[in-house]
Structures are given as C-alpha cells and as structure tokens.
Symmetry: C2
Subunit: 427 residues, 2 copies
Amino acid sequence: MIRVVKEGGSIGIDFIRQLKLRSEETNKQVEAAVAEIIENVRTDGDKALLAYTKKFDGRIPDKMEIRRDEIKALADRCEPAFLNALQNAADNIRDFHMRQKQQSWMNTRSDGVIMGQRIRGLAKVGIYVPGGTAAYPSSVLMNAIPAKIAGVDEIVMVTPPGKDGKPNPEIMAAALTAGVDRVFLVGGAQAVAALAFGTESIPKVDKIVGPGNIYVATAKKQLYGTVDIDMIAGPSEILIIADETANPKFLAADLMSQAEHDVLASAILLTPSEKIAEQTVAQIYEQLEHLSRKEIIRQSLDRFGAVIQCRDVDEAVAFANELAPEHLEICAANPMEYIGKIDNAGSVFLGNFSPEPLGDYYAGPNHVLPTSGTARFFSPLSVDSFIKKSSFIYYTEEAMKAAQEDIIRLAKAEGLTAHANSIEVRR
Amino acid sequence: MIRVVKEGGSIGIDFIRQLKLRSEETNKQVEAAVAEIIENVRTDGDKALLAYTKKFDGRIPDKMEIRRDEIKALADRCEPAFLNALQNAADNIRDFHMRQKQQSWMNTRSDGVIMGQRIRGLAKVGIYVPGGTAAYPSSVLMNAIPAKIAGVDEIVMVTPPGKDGKPNPEIMAAALTAGVDRVFLVGGAQAVAALAFGTESIPKVDKIVGPGNIYVATAKKQLYGTVDIDMIAGPSEILIIADETANPKFLAADLMSQAEHDVLASAILLTPSEKIAEQTVAQIYEQLEHLSRKEIIRQSLDRFGAVIQCRDVDEAVAFANELAPEHLEICAANPMEYIGKIDNAGSVFLGNFSPEPLGDYYAGPNHVLPTSGTARFFSPLSVDSFIKKSSFIYYTEEAMKAAQEDIIRLAKAEGLTAHANSIEVRR
C-alpha cells in the first residue's frame, strides 16, 4: 500500500514534482460553469441565487437568513461536552491570534512632518462553510475568530442546508461561539458570487474565506480582485521527520490522520532509522483496519504516501524545505534544535505529543495553512488576513521646501513633468 | 475638458461604477498569447526566453546578466545631483519601512507548552522593471527596499534593454542604491515566466513584484499560485477633498500629476466651495499648456476627471470611502481631523504641502498602492509583502493529557476518526 523507499536521495525531486502536480489539475468545464453562475448572480441577484439553489440543493429554503434565536436554539441541541470542547478550542484560538494583532503607528519629526500606517479590520467578511459530510465546526472557529480579532465589522457566513433542508447544529454552535454576525443557508459557487457582488438578501463583502468543493474554490479564484480571498488551496499534506527515539505507533496514526482527509492528500515519513520505518509501516497496517475512513486512507497512501529511509537528518530537512509541506511534524529527542533549520512549512509540530490533529482543532494556531508547496511564499491564515493598511503623510511647508529640489529632479528624470509641476507650484 | 458637477450626490454612484469598469477590460487575445509564452518558457527555459527576446525586443543580448561592475559603471554615468536625490529618497523609504518590520514571537506556558509564529523573509524575489519611456527608478526603490528589510536573501531584477540594447543607467543606479542582488536584461511575459519557473540563466523566485504592460500583468496573474505576486493593479487614481482654504493652483497641479500617468488614470476634486471649484478648473486650463504630457492629461481628464461641488465635507468623505481611491489628498484647514473618517484609501496626503508626488518619490511610504477601489481590502506594498510566516506548536505529555478528551470529541463530531485515533494512541 504505502511505498517504502530505502534511499531518500534517489526519489526526492521526482516525488516532490509528482506531489506538486496534484494541485495543477484544472477543469475547463467547471471553470465555464462557474463563470456562468457568477455572471447570472451578478446580473440577477437573489433571483439567480435562488434558481441555482433549487437546481443544486433540490429546494428553495423558506428564507435564506437564519435568525439569531434560531441559531441559538440549534446550538442548544448539541451535546454539552461538545459545546464545552468547542469553547475551550475557541479560547485557545483566540489567545494565540490576539498575539498577532498589529497596531496603527505614526512617526512625528521635529520639522512637523507626521507619517504613519493605519491598520483597520475589513468592513465585511464572508465565510464559506461546506455542508453535508464535510461540515467542519473547527473551520468556522479558525476562519471567524481571527476576523473578529482584526476588528471586522460584520462576519457573514454562508453554508448549504443539510439533506433535511436545515442548518447543521454543530456549525451553528461554532458560528455562535466564534462571533459570526449573520448566517445564510445557501452554498455553492452561487453563494460565493452573492457575497462578492451583494444581492437583495446577501450583503456584499470585502473578502471571502473558507474551504469548499471545486465549484466554490473556482468561484473564489475567478472573483479574486473583485474581492480578496484567503488563498488558492490545493490538496493537503503532512511530512514527518522522525529520529530513532520516535514512537512508530504515533507516527502511523499521524500519517493516517492526514491521509483520511482526501484521496489526494499526501503523508510522508522521513527517518534515518530502518527500524522506525519498518515498525511504522507495520503499525499502519494494524491501525488502518479500525478506522472508518480506511478506503480513503488506503487510496491516499497508495498514491501519495511514502515511508522514506533517508541518510541523515540533514537530508530530511533539505527534503522538507524543498517540499514546503502544509504540516511538518518533528518527532525527535530534542525537536527544538530543528526549528531554525526549517525554511518552508505552514505549521511545525514539535515532539512526540504535538500531533497534527492538536493543531487542527485545539492548540491555537490556525489550521488554514498554505498547501502544495506554497509555504515557500504564502502564510497561515491570521489576523493580518483580515486587515487593511493605509499610509498617511503630512508635510509642513518647511519640510516641503527642504525636499522640493530632490523631488523635482527625480520626477524630471522619469519624464513626469506634471509631477514636477505639482512641486514647483508650491515653491 | 474636465467635467464640472454642481451637485455631488447626483453623480456619485454612477460615476464610481464607471470608474471601476476601467479595470475590468480583459483581453482574450493577450491571455492566450501569454499562456503560450508561459508554457514555452516552462518547457524550454532559456531557449524559449531568448527566442521571445529576439522576437519582441528585436535582438538577443550578448549575455543576459549585467555584472556588478557594469552596473556600477552605468550608475556612475548619472548626474551627481540625481544620485544624491535618489539616495535621499532611499533613506526616507528605508526609515519608513523599517518601522513595519514584524518579529517572530513565542509564548511559553507553565505546563511546558510552547507556541509561536516565525517570520522570515522570502528566499528569492523577482522585481520587474519596465524599460523604454516608462523606466522609473523610483519603482525600483519602492519594490526592492521593503524586500531587503524583510530579509529576502536574493533580489533578482529583470528589465528589458533600451533601444540601444543597453540597460538604463538611472535604473541601474536605483538597483545599486536599493540593494538589488542580480540584474538580467530581459523583459516581457517571457521574463516573468522565467522568474516563476527558473531557467538555466534566471533563478526561480518565490514572488514577483513590479509594474508592467498588459503582457507582464497578465503573466503575473496567470502565474499566481506558482509564485506569489504583489497585486493585480488597475489604472491609477487620485481623489482630492478640498475645503475653502485650499489653493486652486495646487489642486489643479495635483490633479494633473495623476492624469499624466495614463489615459485611463482618474483625477477627481470634491469641494463644497463653488469658488475653489471654478478657480481650479481655470488653473487646469492655464497650467496644462506648459506640461509636456498634455495630450495624455487632456484625454484622461476628459474621460475620468471631474470637479464636483458637493454639499459638505461629510458627502465628500462618503464618496471617498465608496470610491476607495489609491491616492486621497485632504487639503483642508485642519486635515488631521479627517483621518479617522477615512475607511478606504491606499495612501492619504494631508494638508496643502503634501502633494501626491511627494509620496510617489520621496516621503517614505510606498507608492505601490491598491487601485480601482481595491483599497477596500488590499494594502500598500510593505515589508509584510515579502515575509512568510509559519506557526509552531510544542505540547508536553501533560498538556496533551489535559486536552485529549476535547480533541477526540471535536474530531469525532466531524467524522474524522483517524484524527481522533492520532490522539487516542497517545493516551
């Protein structure tokens, strides 16, 4: 099932290339269908939105917006232990993200010049939350809490109705816990388009975040520029670097926790220890049988899984930096000493008791992370994802006098004489 | 030439809509041509790059890379006063952007948990610098200095050769001043593709920034995701809010300094004062005759310029927030009191001695700003544009024990049993 490789160096680059190709599958048919949906929602608003809802979800909801008291009533139906766990997770996420908050600043000079950078939350943000079997309350927390901390005025959530035509109670509980302001029971590319343009019912937002199927992802990509979006997410991956002190039982469990997401997910173990490699493979076979999503796990490990016995830890680190994985676990005797060597990774999990699901649900850092090698240049979702900055400049007449000759010279060197004129008229 | 409107409210929304349409012109032919260039450079590297260089620039350069000593020799040819002005501008830009630098941080808890956020500069950044009549040394400073401060290891500049086949000396001087590491004499979509994939000669980078023509902009957009890009820039604009204390001579000059960029640029004055409105229009006619780019200015003002007499300052501010202009000048007796009212603007210029060209060249804040209303959600180019963040989590066995039941509950609520298993094996 999972490939086992004895010499890491021999497979490195080709395997990485193969993994990166996962994200390059585009679908012309989907693109055309989504472009049409977007155009119709832009032109016809609610009318188009409801027509698509009927077509794709099978029915038109009585009303699109879920009232606050309805959200509360649905949340109250959840188990108290679940609500308690959700609240603890939200507290941790809030604590971590509060530390990311940047302040506006200004600098004043003795010649009267004042300059600075203002930082404010976006006015309105839309959060897409998938329905059905992929209804993830954790995703609501991870997307809404940083927006709230950033100072976003209004957080609007869209989510498709369940098979019974009703909202998912756990999702409603998460919306309440995270501070979502309004909830609409619509989904698909049509909901994304409605958020981007606004309709009679749905407010127009400045940024759309959150996971979704290929229609949702394609709609976000096509609307980038009309609104901001979080990122172009590809299939997910975990890379584990383990030394001889690691626990094969843990390693196998962690690889499979990633593999269960999706048949395109990738789970790779790199270890210099032959024993760890062999025992981990054995543990995978043993544990797999008890897991409900074993078919997905099997397919994912088959295509994009690997246990690689590498020469040494340096080789493993080089492989990690080349792959730039979304999740990187370092299961080693002294994991801290590796952190400075890691150039590219979305989130780094250090030691034997920091498995990836700890980060997915609970510890505090965001679980929306750059995938498919984009950790080279993209960053985890954060409070910074929900702010807008603007600079300001106040110059006095005196300061302008001191600067004017330089500015005129630079403007003229660029042939922009009206720029020079704007300084000259102030002489 | 420039439209004059007596009642601001009556034209507001339609005019804004018309302005925003400027950025929505896409060109299918350009898109197809660029897609082909990208595919060929990806497959054939230098061979394709040189073939396109020959086709579009008329000749193949003897060698693509400009050596350090050649850059210095070219820079030395510039006028000393120009070099001095460039250095002063660079000092101001550096001073402002140094204040944007974020630090990595960590949080340690008494139960042994350590979490934090690492911040590092991108490894390699590519800067596109146009050649010909649009060769702007100021653009080199504005793009390279924040990258340098962010800690980027290697800044690679590409710029097309001049008509004589040689690099532009002012551009080389700016590259030297700003700390650009390598310079290649290639341009167009093919140079952008070369930076994104790497070729035998050109290093592969993580992010591509800088202005360019429609081929360059389209290439950047198509390669977004393979690399990061700065922003999707549309035509530029200035909005000036002036009270009765403003100077019509200054206002006219500032409107035209924006209009000279491009026939699609937009320059708008909003003032409650009939006198200021009339005198500004008169000043535009008077000053225009002396400006070398008067044809561009005339066309730009014709289509996208306006002097609007509004009811009061509140109406002007509401218009500004709706338009979300790239540049906003506030020429008023006490400009500071407006700053808190401005929700959306790339850069705000306060008072009568802070004209927009001061920001374009000299004061320190970046001149790469969100255009066409995207200041609602995009921000000026900054040090943050050249960093990557990653989070890290270290949990102890004790901390994991305290968290495990909550995590298992959340994972099971989402149906992700392999996630729950990864916690359970650690019990």
